[in-house]
């Protein structure tokens, strides 16, 4: 496994409690796919979206904001951002402000979401950062599930899984 894949795998292994910012309850939205999948694979999903505040999504109570989520006192390992690149920086800053002492380890920006300046701030605060990737897809790739669809997983192994 190469360095980049080892980094991704370690984040996916370490961060079992995930705040999904901008998640949707609409079954055809990409964020729904991710929320459902992560929950299925044993991750604790904490939806953050004022539109669905108070609703139970993917086994977690939806909060209206990161501040509200922090107030629940739960441990949050990763913030998964489903917002436009222009809004990602604000999410990162809120995460740094409210979740560092809730056990935050990583920031993950979805496909098409990048903010290098915000990434720098997050790294300075001691967080690992992934941009323009989907945790569901990376999980599927690294565990061999993506290979089912004929995707180039980049993983070569002669070990029995």
């Amino acid at each position: 496994m190469n360095k980049q894949d080892r980094k991704l795998k370690s984040i996916l292994d370490d961060c079992k409690s995930v705040a999904m910012v901008g998640v949707s309850a609409n079954v055809v939205r990409p964020s729904y796919f991710v929320g459902r999948y992560l929950s299925l694979k044993g991750y604790q999903v904490h939806p953050v979206n004022p539109v669905y505040a108070g609703q139970n999504l993917f086994g977690g109570m939806t909060c209206g904001s990161i501040e509200e989520l922090a107030a629940t006192g739960q441990e949050i390992h990763m913030v998964d951002i489903f917002r436009r690149s222009s809004e990602a920086g604000d999410v990162v800053d809120q995460a740094i402000e409210h979740l560092l002492d809730r056990g935050l380890k990583a920031i993950w920006m979805q496909i098409g979401v990048t903010d290098p300046k915000a990434a720098k701030r997050a790294k300075k605060a001691g967080l690992r950062v992934v941009m323009d990737r989907c945790p569901k897809i990376e999980y599927q790739r690294l565990t061999g599930e993506l290979s089912i669809g004929g995707f180039n997983s980049g993983v070569i192994s002669s070990k029995l899984r």
Binding site: V28, L40, I137, G144, G149, G150, N152
Partner: protein, 435 residues
Amino acid sequence: MAAEYGFDTLQIHAGANPDPATGARQVPIYQNTAYVFRDADHAAALFNLQELGYIYSRLTNPTVAALQERVAALEGGVGAVACSSGHAAQIMALFPLMMPGANFVTSNRLYGGSVTQFAQTFKRFGWEARFVDFEDTSAIRKNIDENTKAIFCESIANPGGYITDLDKIGKIADKAKLPLIVDNTSATPYLCRPFEHGATQVVHSTTKYLSGNGTSMGGIVVDSGNFDWTASGKHPSMIEPEPAYHGLKFHETFGPLAYTFHGIAIGLRDLGMTAAPMNAFQTLLGIETLSLRMEKHVANAKKVAKYLQGHKAVEYVSYAGLSDNPYARRAKKYTPKGAGALFTFGVKGGYDACVKVVDNVEIFSHVANLGDTRSLIIHSASTTHRQLTDEQRVAAGAGPEVVRVSIGIEDPNDLIADLDQALTKATAKSKRKKK
């Protein structure tokens, strides 16, 4: 995606981690049609594309999946969709991009079967193929309009002797925000890597060099994952809500994996041009020795081409691996390990002499195929390019005096001797009857 491993490692290992169910080291042949679901929720999730799993072999099959991943890895792409033949792969590659009234600009230097498929049968879908001499870049640009959805060419063009200037074509495609589909059959990813030169999709007839043994029909479409469907805006099937999946938008949901997902979820599902597991297995076996075979193919082709150049019955040899070929320099750039093993030569005595050559070879097999370990020969004008007009044939490099050979990996001395005796017989002056 840059490969971390060498080509020789990928050709054996990519897509083929040990079978999790049994520990089987070699890829098993999953000669199976349907698959049991965990439960109803799992079934629904698979049908909604929320999870990846096996539903029905028309869409996915573990043996076929291994082939898909292997070819994707060798080409440096993100994913691949295997299908029943190279012709099927061409339809599958264009299917997400085209619609009635749309057109695509294609090189006129193509396999004869592709010319017929594009010029005749595609009309029935309402797709228009615009054939252009790809040496004339202004002609390519002139033929692109608001209904153009793709550009198509071959890397090493069938019947041989021509290499497409991929970088140049790639730049035109990029500027026009169009995908560039390259048929890399005659080269294979060992000799040419179109994604490194601006291609966005690659197609193969896996029937040929990839399998290498002439046992199994197959085709494959590989996606680079590099084309920005949203920025282009020309392909609604990639960016608009898909009614068959409750309004899911492929590019938005799957990012660089979108085109491959579409190929499975819509292409294979609805057109059903599925690769057979046994054929995928045979092809996987062949690919394990791809680099070794291609080295030998190229070494033999060079020897035979050089020999023919000096033969008194041969008018000319059209092979980009010969230093005096007009595309020799291009070959060094795009196919540095060799310009393939497919080439043509002109026989003195024209059409009739060609027929005699083909009828007299003993080791060369007279078949309509290429890319086999066995050397093959054919008179293109009367066969593979028969359905074309005289003009189309000449443009494709398959005029009446042209014989095409696909040089195999036999002992080259035997190949040379075989061609010599056939050429001699074909061009011998008829003996006068003794009185």
